[in-house]
Symmetry: C2
Subunit: 204 residues, 2 copies
């Protein structure tokens, strides 16, 4: 019928992700993008539309591979394990992020979402999903007695979401192991039921 594409859409999208992720939206020009993706600008416009559309697709691609199966995988664990493993993985990734790219979703939340309704919805939707994941974990833990019941699951899920975002911001200017691993200790302690807290205390 016609000439076929020379490039693999997923491959070039991944390259677009890396470019936008590292430099952000405004600081990345179409030519930067073309070089990073190994395409001509004409091919980009033909395949995706304009610059904003490429960013839109790139963000979806990032979200898909960053939150897609991950949340589900963690949820198979014991509630408190799931939460702790989630945070430890975020911290590990932050500490090995030598380019200090942070989290592309958080970057989008600050650079593009405030001035673009559609991105606002996308970002806020993903954040709500993460919050819901935390809430499910906490509710499960409160039911089996492994998580403290004095604070509501909703409030604690919000605390975890806030802490997560805080870590991702902090890591971009101060990616220090002691700082990041230290700041989650009190958060994990907050999850512990009172009885266990007393027990720990008696051995201290």
């Amino acid at each position: 019928m016609a000439r076929p594409r020379e490039f693999d859409e997923n491959k070039v999208l991944q390259l677009a992700v890396e470019q936008f992720w590292e430099r952000g939206y405004e600081a990345t020009s179409i030519r930067d993008l073309a070089q990073a993706m190994g395409l001509t600008t004409a091919s980009i416009y033909n395949a995706f539309g304009d610059k904003r559309a490429v960013y839109r697709r790139a963000l979806d691609f990032y979200v898909e591979q960053s939150f897609g199966d991950r949340v589900g995988r963690f949820e198979k664990r014991l509630p408190r394990d799931a939460i702790q493993a989630f945070f430890h993985e975020i911290i590990d990734r932050s500490l090995s992020d030598t380019k200090r790219k942070g989290c592309m979703l958080v970057n989008s939340a600050l650079e593009v979402a405030p001035h673009d309704e559609e991105f606002q919805r996308v970002v806020s939707g993903v954040l709500s999903q993460v919050e819901a994941f935390f809430r499910r974990c906490i509710e499960a833990g409160q039911n089996d007695g492994s998580i403290d019941r004095r604070q509501s699951a909703t409030d604690m899920a919000g605390t975890l979401l806030g802490t997560l975002l805080g870590i991702r911001v902090l890591a971009r200017t101060r990616p220090e192991k002691n700082l990041l691993e230290g700041l989650i200790r009190p958060v994990f302690a907050m999850l512990e039921p009172e009885s266990k807290q007393q027990l720990d205390q008696s051995f201290a």
Copy 2:
């Protein structure tokens, strides 16, 4: 000796702050800046240097008026009051921030600091000062018994710093009163000494 300035440096710096704060560094052109400051581009270059230098001065100006006396004012209160008042003020400001500008320091931490050593130092320095403020409050509270002693002051100060940054990120896409006020409740509870926690529990 020579022709005097027609503008007040502090006034135009404040206008530059508002422009950069709302739109960020890359999305603000020199002409945007000139219009916002009520100056010609020539005057800007003559008075400040290049675009980066204006941003540098604007960020200093913002930090000065945002963190300058504020931290000191809070520190005059009782330790736990100081921390709680600090967070309530941040949340109030976030909820009344109709333009969703967030915190210019956090914005800088994500947009410019990762690619600019000098801004890296500035941002990380201010964050360290906030952290130190939290730590001093916590240590004072631990000494007078109003703050829990089971977690180290360093760890809890990190938690507060992370929570603060998380709130500022979250507020830019989801400035919801319930969410923000809810997420700090478990954090404040974490500060409470165990004895008090038990007491609260007995009345619940």
